[in-house]
């Protein structure tokens, strides 16, 4: 892939030297890692089915646009009723006027903070493998931050909104960064929502780092509702200590080119990890979900279910890697991944990747790809439902078990609502 990274250097020179020396050095190191690595190509195993050429070929610019009434309106549609804190970032910049912070329980901190390489685990993910994480770090300026001191429990959800706005015609990029650290015996629900204008070529490159101490419980949602022409790359890295519980619900309904890397390291005994995934794409959009569950310690359980609905010429990629380290005896891992293809041209590439180095473990995986069940379709129609309604009902039913696993009712309802809207388009083009 012929690619010029020069303009990233130019952008970096414009903004990268802000802040204290240590931060500048961290960014500079990351920039160098990115430049020497370059964008991945389809010649690499991890990126075999996903070409990021559309991103590499465009000169995206950082564009902190002013918050307008229109922005406020867009954000209003994304707000989560009942959230105890809602931090809004517009084109990567914190927007205090749109953010809400109600009085938080003792021991709970939710804030937009400056990255400080010395005392917080920023940079945890900067391994040579992932150039997008390095790129994010090279431009990191603000961090959406949650910290729960040991024993703190926050019952209402905490919501981070990352919204893209059009900036006088040029292609914008943003590098959102989330850091969540839950102390021992804590509990929280955190939602990350990503959204943007319907017809703009912008680039979101998000990185979330999550550290769960002993017995911490986190319900984590990532709701990706980007515009249909957007590029969305996201890396989420979770490290869970003894007896922690991590539940992820990853919903992808937007974006032209989407890649999610979700890595969960179960780093103590008795960790319970649940990954729910749901995605829907039509036209020529691509959604790629790469997950890794790293069973590093014994007696951990993981449950993973990813479901995709693909119409037109849309493509899905699922790569589910489960590592069971030599010490991780009594691991119980179950992975399921299903795709519903609504057209002949829709396509899914699915790869389970089990790497098991312990002998007393239970690991199962299953993948299924199918079309709508014609018998079921006829059954519904024979009772008077229109073909469109019958298809709708069956597609919705396909998604139902993932939706039903989402712990928060309000989110489940809003995801269902948006999914319905997407399906109307997808099913109309499939008919």
């Amino acid at each position: 892939m012929a690619q010029s990274l020069d303009h990233y250097v130019a952008e970096w020179k414009r903004v990268g030297r802000r802040g204290p020396e240590s931060l500048v050095r961290m960014r500079e190191d990351a920039l160098h890692r990115f430049l020497s690595r370059g964008f991945p190509t389809t010649g690499e195993e991890e990126w075999r089915f996903t070409s990021v050429a559309p991103i590499a070929e465009r000169a995206f610019a950082l564009s902190p646009s002013p918050v307008t009434d229109a922005t406020a309106l867009d954000v209003a549609a994304l707000r989560l009723p009942g959230a105890v804190a809602e931090l809004v970032f517009v084109n990567g910049c914190y927007a205090p006027s749109l953010s809400r912070l109600v009085a938080l329980p003792a021991g709970v901190r939710v804030a937009n903070v400056a990255p400080t390489p010395s005392d917080r685990p920023i940079g945890l993910l900067d391994r040579p493998g992932n150039p997008f994480v390095a790129l994010n770090t090279a431009f990191v300026d603000e961090v959406a931050y949650i910290e729960l001191a040991a024993g703190a429990v926050v019952e209402q959800p905490i919501h981070f909104v990352f919204i893209a706005e059009e900036a006088d015609g040029h292609a914008t990029m943003a590098h959102p960064r989330v850091l969540i650290t839950l102390g021992a015996n804590t509990q929280a629900s955190v939602i990350e929502t990503y959204a943007g204008p319907a017809a703009a070529r912008y680039f979101t490159n998000a990185v979330s780092e999550i550290a769960l101490a002993e017995n911490a419980v986190l319900n984590h949602y990532k709701l990706q509702y980007e515009g249909r022409d957007a590029y969305h790359i996201a890396t989420t890295h979770v490290q869970a200590e003894r007896s922690a519980t991590y539940t992820s619900s990853s919903v992808n309904l937007g974006g032209a080119l989407v890649r999610n890397d979700l890595i969960a390291v179960l780093n103590g005994e008795g960790v319970e990890c649940t990954l729910n995934g749901l995605y829907c794409a039509d036209a020529q959009r691509l959604v790629d979900n790469h997950t890794t569950i790293d069973h590093a310690q014994p007696h951990c359980g993981s449950r993973e279910i990813y479901k995709g609905i693909l119409a037109d010429r849309a493509r899905g990629v699922f790569n589910g890697r489960i590592i069971v380290r030599p010490d991780a005896q009594k691991t119980d891992a179950k992975q399921t991944n299903r795709a519903l293809l609504l057209s002949e041209d829709a396509q899914i590439n699915t790869t389970p990747q089990l790497e098991i180095f312990a002998n007393d473990v239970k690991c199962t995986h299953g993948a299924a790809v199918g079309q709508l069940d014609e018998d079921a379709l006829f059954y519904l129609r024979s009772r008077g439902l229109s073909e469109t309604d019958a298809r709708h009902l069956l597609v919705h039913a396909f998604a139902a078990d993932v939706l039903n696993h989402m712990p928060l009712e309000t989110i489940r309802a809003s995801v269902e609502h948006r999914l319905q809207r997407e399906l109307i388009g997808a099913l109309a083009s499939a008919a």
Binding site: D373, E374, D375, A376, F378, Y379, L380, R381, S382, R383, G384, L385, S386, E387, D389, A390, L393, L394, H396, A397, F398, A399, A400, D401
Partner: protein, 268 residues
């Protein structure tokens, strides 16, 4: 109400029905009997509009309308209902939600207002009790994990809620124990009305002990080879299908002659 004329139909390029004639008037109960492979279920599925079956020749009129030109949902809205031989399991679709959506689709077609959840619940309650259906069944996904008997009772329950004008029961009695059979029969009998007709497709005479038909037709090799009153069913029970062997041989041998065209018509 229903007039089937010289119906030829098949599935996957194979002709199964080879000239069926049948006429059903409002208020009548007709039974179609016949050995395995005779085309009984094909007839039911063709009438309901199963997309895998194709009609090569003939005509079906329902209230004077060309039934074969209608898609399955239009047939349902016009008042045709088929109880499936093998009801389809639909994971993820709630039984009550499905039935309410179906009922409201029919009501919309008739220009009636949609029922809300409360109205729907009170409507279905009596019918569930009458059919011995547990409330829990409504909350479960359509047919998923239902026993054979539960599936068949669910079909009859749907029929009771949707109130069709022509109900086709495709081997609803197969595989039922005697109690379930009585429940199904009771469900049908309770719905008999001067304006409603039934077509019972059955392999066994047993069902007809509980639902007394106005006419019995014997289907063999894709044609109706004998029609008569309820006594025909008893005769079949006693003598077996072998009793009709000469007619079988004839049906199998050659093309239908002009006489037989009227055989299936009651009162001709």
């Amino acid at each position: 109400m229903l007039t089937v004329t010289n119906l030829h139909a098949g599935v996957g390029g194979r002709e199964i029905l080879r000239g069926v004639d049948l006429a059903i008037q409002p208020g009548e109960v007709h039974a179609i009997m016949g050995p395995n492979g005779s085309g009984k279920s094909t007839l039911a599925r063709v009438l309901a509009g199963h997309p895998e079956y194709h009609v090569t020749q003939g005509e079906v009129l329902f209230d004077g309308q060309d039934l074969l030109a209608m898609d399955p949902e239009s047939r349902a809205r016009a008042g045709v209902f088929m109880a499936f031989q093998y009801p389809v399991e639909i994971p993820g679709v709630n039984n009550a939600y499905f039935l309410k959506a179906a009922l409201n689709a029919l009501r919309a077609h008739r220009g009636e207002e949609a029922l809300d959840a409360m109205e729907f619940t009170s409507l279905v309650h009596d019918r569930m009790t009458a059919l011995g259906i547990d409330e829990d069944l409504l909350r479960r996904p359509v047919n998923e994990g239902f026993s054979g008997g539960e599936k068949k009772r669910n079909e009859i329950f749907q029929m009771a809620v949707l109130e069709p004008r022509l109900a086709i029961l495709d081997e609803t009695d197969s595989g039922l124990d005697i109690d379930a059979l009585k429940t199904v029969a009771h469900g049908v009998n309770a719905m008999r009305r001067p304006e409603r007709a039934f077509l019972l497709v059955t392999h066994y005479q047993r069902l007809l002990n509980y639902i007394v038909p106005d006419a019995v037709h014997v289907l063999a090799d894709g044609r109706i080879i004998r029609s008569g009153g309820k006594e025909l069913a008893f005769e079949l029970e006693e003598k077996g299908y072998g009793w009709l062997e000469p007619a079988f041989a004839e049906a199998t041998a050659g093309p239908a002659d002009s006489d037989r065209r009227d055989v299936g018509r009651l009162g001709s």
